[in-house]
C-alpha cells in the first residue's frame, strides 16, 4: 500500500560495537495504513545488492528494544506505530563498503481480514558514507 515509503531515505549506516563494525542498519516504516502489533509481522525479507540476508541475521529495534524475527512472533503488546520508523539491523561482520547499495525490503504483515500476508516491498539505493 505504501511500498514506496517503507525504507527511510538516507538512513543506511554501518553499526559499530566498540571498535568493530558488526553489521549495518537502516530505518523502515510499517507498510500498512496503521500500526501493527509486532506479532503480526511475519517476516522482514532483506536483500542487499541482490543477495538475500539470512533470516537469523535480521532484527528490528522498536522503542529502544531489539527483537529477532522469532522474538517478534510472540510479542503481543508492543506495536510498530504508523509513521514512526523502526530500525532494521543486519548482523554482518565488517558491515557494508562505503558507497551505494541496493537495499530491498519486503515486509510480510499478517492482517486479520486479508487471505494472504500483506507484503509491501521496495528496493532503494542507499549510500553508506565512508
Amino acid at each position: 500500500m505504501f511500498d514506496r515509503y517503507i525504507i527511510v531515505e538516507n538512513s543506511l549506516r554501518n553499526v559499530r560495537q566498540g571498535s568493530d563494525v558488526v553489521g549495518f542498519a537502516f530505518d523502515a516504516r510499517c507498510g500498512y495504513y496503521r500500526r501493527l502489533i509486532l506479532s503480526m509481522v511475519e517476516e522482514l525479507d532483506v536483500e542487499v545488492d541482490g543477495t538475500p540476508v539470512p533470516r537469523q541475521d535480521v532484527s528490528l529495534t522498536v522503542g529502544g528494544r531489539t527483537y529477532s524475527l522469532d522474538e517478534m512472533r510472540s510479542e503481543y503488546k508492543v506495536a510498530w506505530e504508523f509513521g514512526e520508523p523502526a530500525t532494521v539491523t543486519v548482523a554482518k561482520p565488517g558491515g557494508l563498503p562505503a558507497g551505494p547499495h541496493d537495499i530491498r525490503l519486503a515486509e510480510q504483515l499478517r492482517i486479520s481480514y486479508l487471505p494472504v500476508p500483506h507484503t509491501p516491498v521496495t528496493t532503494q539505493t542507499l549510500t553508506v558514507s565512508a
Binding site: Y5, Y33, R34, S39, M40, F82, G83, R110, S112
Partner: protein
C-alpha cells in the same frame, strides 16, 4: 424531505501526510478546519493515536480543546479487531471483546458518537459488545466495504443478528468502494506500471464488471492473461481491483435504512465535470437520503496509495467531492 447529513472527512484520507509525519494530529485537524472539509471528523484509532486505545489525560484534553476551538464535530472512531494477532489461533470471543471494549471507551472519552467496527466482529462478539456501547453511550457501525455489498450473504447474516439482538445502537456504515461501476483509473494505472500489458485493461474491466465471486473473476482474468502469454505472477497484480473495488448495486444501500447512521464516501478522483468517474454519487447517496438518512458522512479519499507525496492536494480534492455531495443533497431535497 428533511434529511440534512453532516459532511466531514476521515483523517485516513491524509494517510500519506501521516506516513511522512507532515502534521501532528492537532495540526491536521487545523488543516481540515481551515480547508473547510469538516465539520465532521473521523479517525482510525490505530493510525492517528499513539498507543491507542490507551489515552493520556493531556491527549484527551488537547483533542477536546482542538475540536471545540475549530468548530469540528467528532463523528466516528474507526476501531479494528485484529483477530489474527496470534499465528497459532484466532482470538477467542473473550479476547475480541477485551481488544474492542477499550476502543469503545476511547470513543466515549474523545466524544465520538459512533465506533466503526468491521465484518470480523462475529455475532457472539457483537452481542457481548452491546453493553459496553450502552455504557459508553456510543453506537457500533459495521462498515460494509468491497468485496462485500449491501445485500451480500455476510451482510445479510449481520442483519439477521441485528434483528435478533434488537438494539438501536447497532447499525451499518456503507463504504462506496462496494458499489462502483468501474475500476478506479488510478488503480488500473498501477497495474500498467507493474508490467501488465495495456491491451489487457479493457479485458480486465469487462471481467471485473461481469457476474461471479471476486476469486472466480480474478481467476478468469489470470487465465485470459496467460493465454496471451502474460505470466500468472504478472497478471495477479490485479487482485486488488477485485478486493478494493466492488460492483454491487448502489441503490441497494437504501435497503439497510434506518440502520445506516454514518457513511464512508469513498472516492478516488473528481473529474473536470465534478463527478467521481468510477462511483456514481447520485445512485449511491441519493437513495439513502431519500430513505431519510440524516447521519454523518466522511470523505474517504483512497488514491493516496498510489499518489506521490509531492503531488498531494488532498484537501482541495475533498472540497470538490463535498461540492458533488452537496449537489446530490440539493437534488434530493428539491
Amino acid at each position: 424531505m428533511t434529511s440534512t447529513p453532516l459532511l466531514g472527512t476521515t483523517l485516513y484520507s491524509f494517510t500519506n501526510e501521516w506516513v511522512s509525519a507532515r502534521y501532528t494530529l492537532t495540526e491536521l485537524l487545523e488543516h481540515v478546519a481551515a480547508a473547510g472539509i469538516g465539520p465532521g471528523v473521523e479517525l482510525v484509532g490505530f493510525q492517528s493515536i499513539r498507543n491507542f486505545p490507551r489515552l493520556e489525560t493531556a491527549f484527551i484534553d488537547e483533542f477536546h480543546e482542538t475540536v471545540d476551538r475549530l468548530g469540528l464535530v467528532p463523528t466516528s472512531l474507526a476501531a479494528n479487531i485484529d483477530i489474527a494477532i496470534r499465528r497459532d489461533r484466532d482470538l477467542t470471543t473473550e479476547e475480541r471483546v477485551d481488544y474492542t471494549a477499550p476502543q469503545i471507551e476511547a470513543a466515549r472519552l474523545l466524544g465520538f458518537p459512533v465506533v466503526r467496527i468491521q465484518i470480523g466482529a462475529d455475532p457472539a462478539t457483537l452481542e457481548r459488545l452491546v453493553p459496553y456501547a450502552e455504557k459508553a453511550g456510543v453506537r457500533l457501525g459495521m462498515e460494509i466495504h468491497a468485496p462485500e455489498g449491501p445485500l451480500t450473504p455476510k451482510v445479510e447474516a449481520v442483519s439477521r443478528v441485528y434483528d435478533r439482538i434488537d438494539s438501536d445502537l447497532l447499525g451499518f456504515i456503507p463504504d462506496f468502494s462496494s458499489t462502483m461501476h468501474r475500476i478506479s483509473a488510478g488503480l488500473a494505472q498501477t497495474y500498467l506500471e507493474s508490467g501488465l500489458p495495456a491491451d489487457l485493461l479493457p479485458e480486465l474491466q469487462r471481467i471485473w464488471a461481469a457476474d461471479g465471486g471476486q476469486g472466480e473473476r480474478l481467476g478468469q482474468f489470470i487465465a485470459l492473461a496467460e493465454s496471451r502469454g502474460v505470466p500468472a505472477a504478472t497478471a495477479s497484480v490485479v487482485a486488488s481491483a477485485f478486493t478494493m473495488n466492488g460492483h454491487e448495486r448502489p441503490e441497494d444501500w437504501a435497503e439497510l435504512m434506518p440502520r445506516i447512521f454514518h457513511v464512508h464516501a469513498k472516492f478516488y478522483d473528481i473529474d473536470e465535470n465534478g463527478e467521481e468517474p468510477s462511483i456514481d454519487y447520485f445512485r449511491n447517496l441519493g437513495p439513502i437520503l431519500e430513505a431519510g438518512f440524516a447521519g454523518s458522512i466522511s470523505s474517504e479519499w483512497e488514491a493516496h496509495s498510489w499518489t506521490p507525496n509531492d503531488e498531494l492536494d488532498t484537501a482541495a480534492l475533498i472540497r470538490r467531492q463535498h461540492d458533488l455531495m452537496r449537489r446530490v443533497i440539493a437534488k434530493v431535497s428539491r
